[in-house]
């Protein structure tokens, strides 16, 4: 290799090496399996509480005692399980173990949370304020305007979207990294709300009407989490490509 070629290779390599930190960060940000698992469990709990509640109510009204007791017993099992899952010291410990197991081949990383700039802090406050305003508007719409139940998802979008955005901007330490799903998730939820208002038939009819909020929230969350996970595979592949030198003798000396 002559000097000119050598210099060219050196320059290219140096530029690529500088990208290692960027791809490491992208990989770490998009390790979204913990989020996907938590979303799936939440969805399961949603079903486990919603289905017996609905059929229990129906059984009560029709006087079907056996069905009512089955529903009550189901809820008696589900509620302690929900409490167990919600307490970090109990269920959280097992979730943590499961996540460690899933990433056992890759190892563990903790993402550095960069200090927020003044404009980011301001954006966080604005998103928080917007959330407050939206909550008030949705309460007014529900209480005073008697919004039909089929519009509950668009009304809930008023609270859900600013909440996700506010959490994404503030990123409290308890929130695991979520990559781009923090932005994609509210966008999908908003599109869903617009489609509902436009009259597109994407809603559950009775008796499954209570899934109209649960399924879009969890469904789009899981979808975005899986997209994030796929992206983390790409980022890891890219990172491994950048960290390997052909024929390198890495002996520590």
């Amino acid at each position: 290799m002559n000097r000119e070629q050598n210099n060219k290779v050196q320059n290219q390599n140096a530029e690529k090496l500088k990208e290692i930190s960027k791809w490491t960060q992208r990989y770490a940000e998009n390790r979204t399996l913990p989020f996907v698992i938590n979303m799936m469990i939440s969805l399961l709990f949603g079903f486990a509480v919603g289905i017996p509640s609905y059929f229990g109510g129906r059984a009560y009204r029709s006087g079907n005692v056996l069905q009512l007791w089955i529903c009550i017993l189901s809820l008696m099992i589900v509620f302690p399980a929900l409490i167990f899952y919600s307490v970090p010291k109990w269920g959280g410990k097992y979730i943590e173990k499961l996540i460690r197991f899933l990433y056992r081949k890759e190892g563990q990383v903790i993402l550095a949370i960069p200090k927020k700039t003044k404009s980011q802090r301001r954006a966080g406050w604005i998103a928080g304020l917007l959330l407050g305003v939206c909550v008030v508007i949705s309460i007014i719409l529900i209480v005073f305007c008697k919004i039909p139940i089929k519009y509950m998802q668009p009304v809930s979008a008023l609270c859900v979207i600013p909440l996700i955005i506010a959490v994404g901007i503030w990123r409290p330490p308890s929130v695991k990294p979520a990559g781009f799903l923090v932005w994609l998730w509210p966008i999908l939820y908003a599109i869903h709300a617009i489609l509902v208002v436009a009259g597109v038939p994407i809603q559950f009819e009775r008796p499954w009407i209570f899934f109209n909020i649960l399924i879009p929230i969890a469904g789009y969350g899981i979808l975005c989490g899986l997209l994030g996970h796929i992206y983390s595979r790409y980022a890891l592949k890219k990172l491994k490509g950048l960290t390997h030198l052909e024929g390198e003798a890495a002996n520590g000396d």
Binding site: Q10, I20, S21, Q25, L239, H244, E248, A250
Partner: protein
């Protein structure tokens, strides 16, 4: 222009660059990402640690011991300085040993 020889070694440079993008990473992550043997990586990590560029955290995850690494402030500064110096050397057209092998990607 002095190039930091501890950082300039290809594997150590990559370790530093990975850690620069994170709060901390464990030994397993570095071993698998860099495709090194455990012994090999240990030697590099010892050198970086003795230079004061890394902080080591030893803990237990359940019953399994876990070693994590974090870049120190000194390490971050040294890395930034390294790139500054290296860019200056590159601009002057000198050949730099650690950069002359093609990357796989």
């Amino acid at each position: 222009m002095e190039i930091d020889k501890i950082i300039h070694e290809p594997t150590r440079l990559r370790v530093m660059m990975i850690l620069a993008g994170l709060e901390q990473a464990d030994f397993k992550f570095l071993v698998t990402t860099l495709s090194l043997t455990r012994g090999n990586l240990s030697r590099h990590m010892e050198k970086l640690e003795s230079a004061g560029y890394l902080k080591v955290k030893k803990s237990f995850k359940g019953k399994v011991p876990n070693t994590s690494y974090q870049l120190t402030q000194e390490g971050s500064k040294a890395l930034a300085q390294y790139w500054e110096n290296l860019d200056a050397v590159r601009r002057s057209g000198q050949i730099i040993g650690a950069m002359d092998r093609p990357l796989r990607c």
